[in-house]
Amino acid sequence: MADRHLKEVPELLEESGPGFISLTLEADDYFEVMRGALRYGRAVGMHTALLSSSMPEAELTATMAALEEPVDHVEMIDCMSDLVMSPKSGEARHVESPRLLEMALLELRRSLRSADGPSLIIVDSINSLMIHNSKPRTMAFLEALYGRVARGGHTLALLHISEEGEGVSIPNLRLISDRVLVLE
């Protein structure tokens, strides 16, 4: 079942084109959806920025290595390592806390600036952002991201875990997204 997402997610992102895309998924499918999004970035040769407020870079890198998913094309903006005092590789960009959304936005801008053209931005996830921030603040952040995505012709995939979606509804996601894709 989950393997389907490895093929489906790149296809959906390709079909959607540039814009702000919300991907609603079940927690069990998390890694497959993430891998699918990463594969899309690699397949189209896009600079890929992964903004993570879910897990530290070391954990994500180790998991992807175990799943034999290459991540050498990915620049990570890691909002968790400092918070949980996880080791840092020195390759990722770090934000001290997922509450520092302004700094996350600035690090993302630095990452996008280093790329030649449009980028793929993966935000993992709206649920984890909302654990650390109020809903209005999270929405303000996503709206700021929306503006950045629209101006730069980027593709943004926002992950939304449906079971943990307290406070986040599909209509909420529709307000900030060009497209909401519910993965079943």
């Binding site: 806390s97 302004e102 600035l106 690090e107 801008r109 630095r110 209005p136 603040r137 303000a140 700021a144």
Partner: protein, 227 residues
């Protein structure tokens, strides 16, 4: 003699700052960059000069810190091809040369001469923190006005590093940028606020400030950070 025609605003080259200021700073203006230690004041001023030097504008740094220390303490900016202070005229001064009222007046007089004789397009002074803090407001205000007149006559744009200052000491400045830190619980973010910006209609909002190899970047503070 007629004043040379000038565009009302000249970009600093610091993209986000220019955006915040509605295009940049007026030529012939004095900007005070206020804030506490390690708030990013020197980095911002240095980037202002480096952007100018990279664009071929004669730029001068007057510093109370030796050149070697600047090179050691400053972040490795990529904006000037990592050339450090290359292209910037460096002039060192002793902090005590500007402390007392008479020394301060002489220092400003010397500064005015440098502006009039050298006609640099960009200058930064880092810093007059002690003098501006301790000297009485009328002394500071009068001296800055003399300096501001010289800058205006010559079309030179200056940034000056200082600590937090009361309103009556900044009357002569065209622009006042306040750098600081906003804290909430264990989190902290560097901030930049435009307290005064003559010739701009931009709202004076507060911004998060990030300093890095690519230079200073700013983004508007979002609602809710301070609870």
């Amino acid at each position: 003699m007629a004043e040379p025609a000038r565009s009302p605003i000249r970009p600093t080259g610091i993209e986000d700052l220019d955006l915040i200021l509605g295009g940049g700073l007026p030529p012939g203006s004095l900007t005070l960059v206020c804030g506490g230690m390690a708030s990013g004041r020197s980095s911002l001023c240095l980037e202002f000069l480096m952007r100018g030097a990279a664009a071929g504008e004669p730029s001068v740094l007057l510093s109370s810190m030796p050149e070697k220390m600047h090179a050691h303490r400053m972040p490795p900016f990529g904006i000037n091809d990592d050339k450090g202070l290359e292209g910037i005229d460096f002039i060192e001064f002793l902090p005590e040369d500007s402390h007392g009222p008479e020394e301060f007046a002489l220092f400003i007089e010397e500064l005015v001469k440098r502006v009039e004789n050298g006609k640099p397009q960009r200058l930064a002074v880092d810093s007059l923190e002690q003098a501006l803090h301790w000297l009485p407001a009328p002394t500071v205000s009068r001296a800055l006005r003399v300096l501001q007149d010289a800058l205006f006559r010559n079309g030179s744009t200056m940034m000056m590093v200082c600590g937090p200052l009361p309103d009556d000491k900044v009357q002569a400045a065209d622009c006042v940028l306040s750098l600081g830190t906003q804290r909430q619980g264990p989190d902290a973010v560097r901030t930049l606020e435009v307290l005064r910006a003559r010739g701009t209609k931009r709202p004076l909002s507060r911004y998060a400030l990030s300093l890095g190899k690519e230079g200073a970047m700013m983004v508007r503070m979002m609602e809710g950070y301070d609870g």
